[in-house]
């Protein structure tokens, strides 16, 4: 189990649910948001240890969310994982400028996402509580 809190933002309910479930099963506390603005508000209020966000969302894109988070002193050090179906359209410069820590392409593997999360949160591999993964 871990005491880390992760904020997941995606306007696709199915994706939001599956990512949340995978993280909860791994022992994380998970907060969810369905658009960029909501995610920003929750992040500023709750100061999660990590933000996983979709790129294309209503109101605020994933990149803009990351940019805003890093402009706020309270959340400037929060790592951000971008989960996107449009990764091929993004220039490395765009993600670097916005302070994106990692980028994963949709379709994605929840297992791989979990491994990336644990890597970003201090290099400790986190195994899912019910995972059958080797």
């Amino acid at each position: 189990m871990t005491d880390k809190t992760i904020l997941v933002a995606d306007d696709e309910t199915h994706i939001l649910n599956v990512v949340s479930l995978k993280l909860r099963n791994a022992g994380f506390t998970v907060l969810t948001a369905q658009d960029g603005q909501e995610a920003l508000e929750i992040a500023l209020a709750e100061r999660p240890d990590l933000v996983i966000t979709d790129y294309q969302m209503p109101l605020l894109s994933g990149l803009e969310l990351s940019r805003r988070l890093h402009a706020e002193p309270a959340t400037s050090g929060t790592p951000v994982i971008l989960l996107t179906a449009r990764g091929y359209l993004l220039e490395p410069r765009d993600t670097q400028e916005s302070g994106i820590t990692r980028m994963l392409s949709k379709p994605f593997s929840p297992r791989h996402l979990l491994a990336t999360v644990s890597e970003v949160l201090g290099g400790q591999p986190v195994t899912s509580a019910t995972s059958t993964e080797q």
């Binding site: 309910t13 109101l59 179906a85 449009r86 091929y88 949709k106 929840p110 297992r111 899912s128 995972s131």
Partner: protein, 480 residues
């Protein structure tokens, strides 16, 4: 011997005798009487020579007058150059004049021949110029031809439209008096200065107009002066501007389309893949959770299938390859089926889905699969653009008098701004204001319109109010 020659000889003889007699009379030794006789004789000779001289001068004058009169009479001495003068006297003049006339005639004939030749050359050159101008005027690309002094020699209608000048105003005026486009003038000047003959340069140029920017591919060619203007050795420039605005828009639309379609395809695929992996990994804790996962996978697979159907259908209808199977169909049945398909999506957003349908015996001649796709697209859009907790109503009405059946999908969604209404059925068009509300390819409504209007000869209906909702619908003829 003519009379004038005889008079001339007598005059000369009398003059000589008179002179001789005068000399003799002065010789000393001749007696006074002899001298006096000689003097008298000399005086006689002088008189005779004076009379003869007068006669000769009169004859010459007569000839001169006659020659002058004759020359005056003859309007064109070349046509009738024979001036008949009496033999002797000034007859040599006649020959000289005749020769002069001959050579003049030859010179004039030569000149006439050359004039004819030049006239033919001019006609050929004019025809060629008209031909070239006709070609240039008929080209849909804008063409500007300038000379070595940056004066506009030739321009076509497309150029006049592109740069907004009157075609009639062209006629060797400095370029900067006609084009109000410093960048374009700069390009032409640069080409003239820098490039040698036949050099070619291709660049892009944007013209700012009231109706928006237009982008052109400009081909600038340095040409020999004589090609632009005969008799000029310095070079000019031919600029051909190809309007790429539409091509660029289409390319951008295609790009947007590809990225949109790939996003739309990837999203349901991402869900399917993630949920399958979760099931494999045993992340679903109980059978209820497993059941939910299976439902998600099924629904997302259906969504993916619908998207692929839309893309393929629109491609087939547009390419004319579509096969239409028209049979009597009940729109009530079709709408009911579509509602069943969309219900899970509506439920997910807590949207109330109601229906008000007519008896199934009202039928229309239609392709079932296509109409199903059309109704499903309208319902799917309604779900997409209606916020959580809203409502959607599907209605089928029959107008017996007009023999029409009308389908309406009424939502309490975000609505469409009036400025976007005329374009919502355009392929790839997405109302900017609503693009954040949901993602889409901008294909769905275009396909619906194709199915209703192109394939079934019906009519689309649309009413919308921002913040209140939209009513999308269509009407079709009832079966006879």
């Amino acid at each position: 011997m003519g009379r004038s020659k005889l008079v001339f000889c007598v005059t000369l003889a009398a003059l000589a005798c008179g002179t001789l007699l005068l000399v003799l009379a002065a010789v000393p030794g001749w007696g006074a009487a002899t001298g006096g006789r000689l003097l008298a004789l000399a005086a006689l000779c002088c008189m005779i020579s004076a009379i003869g001289g007068v006669a000769v001068i009169a004859a010459l004058r007569r000839d001169c007058n006659r020659l002058t009169a004759r020359l005056r009479e003859t309007s064109s001495p070349l046509q009738d150059r024979t001036v008949s003068l009496p033999k002797g006297g000034f007859a040599f003049l006649q020959r000289a004049l005749s020769e002069l006339a001959d050579s003049a005639e030859r010179a004039v004939a030569d000149a006439a021949f050359r004039a004819k030749e030049l006239e033919v050359q001019l006609k050929v050159a004019t025809a060629e110029r008209h031909h070239a101008e006709a070609i240039i005027y008929s080209i849909s690309d804008a063409v500007l031809v300038t000379d070595a002094f940056d004066e506009l020699v030739l321009a076509n209608d497309a150029a006049a439209r592109a740069f907004g000048f009157e075609l009639g105003a062209v006629g060797r005026k400095p370029l900067d008096q006609i084009l109000h486009d410093p960048a374009m003038i700069g390009l032409i000047r640069q080409t003239r200065r820098n490039d040698g003959e036949s050099a070619r340069r291709v660049t892009e140029h944007t013209i700012h107009t009231n109706t928006g920017d237009r982008t052109f591919k400009v081909t600038l060619s340095g040409v020999a002066g004589s090609a632009v203007d005969p008799g000029q050795s310095h070079g000019g420039v031919v600029a051909v501007l190809h309007d790429m605005t539409r091509e660029k828009e289409v390319a951008e639309m295609k790009n947007d389309f590809v990225s949109m379609v790939s996003h739309e395809l990837r999203t349901p695929l991402a869900s399917i893949k993630a949920y399958v992996e979760m099931l494999i990994d045993g992340e679903a804790r109980d059978s209820k959770a497993q059941r939910e996962f299976y439902d998600v996978i099924q629904n997302e697979a259906n969504r993916l299938g619908r998207l692929i159907d839309n893309i393929l259908s629109i491609a087939r209808i547009e390419s004319g390859l579509v096969r239409v199977t028209r049979q009597p169909q009940s729109l009530t049945v079709i709408v009911k089926d579509a509602i069943e398909v969309i219900a899970p999506q509506a439920k997910q957003k807590q949207i109330a889905l109601t229906e008000r349908l007519t008896p199934v015996f009202y039928q229309t001649s239609a392709d079932r699969d296509m109409l199903h796709q059309a109704v499903l697209n309208l319902l799917s859009n309604a779900v997409k653009y209606t916020p959580v907790g809203g409502s959607i109503s599907a209605e089928v009405d029959v107008d017996e008098a007009a023999r029409k059946v009308i389908v309406r999908i009424i939502d309490t969604g975000v609505g469409i701004p009036p400025k976007d209404l005329p374009f919502v059925f355009d392929k790839f068009y997405r109302a900017e204001a609503n693009s954040r509300m949901a993602s889409g390819t901008g294909l769905g409504l275009s396909l619906v319109k194709h199915i209703i209007e192109t394939v079934h000869h019906g009519r689309m209906l649309l009413e919308s109010q921002v913040g209140k909702g939209s009513t999308f619908g269509f009407e079709l003829d009832l079966c006879e």
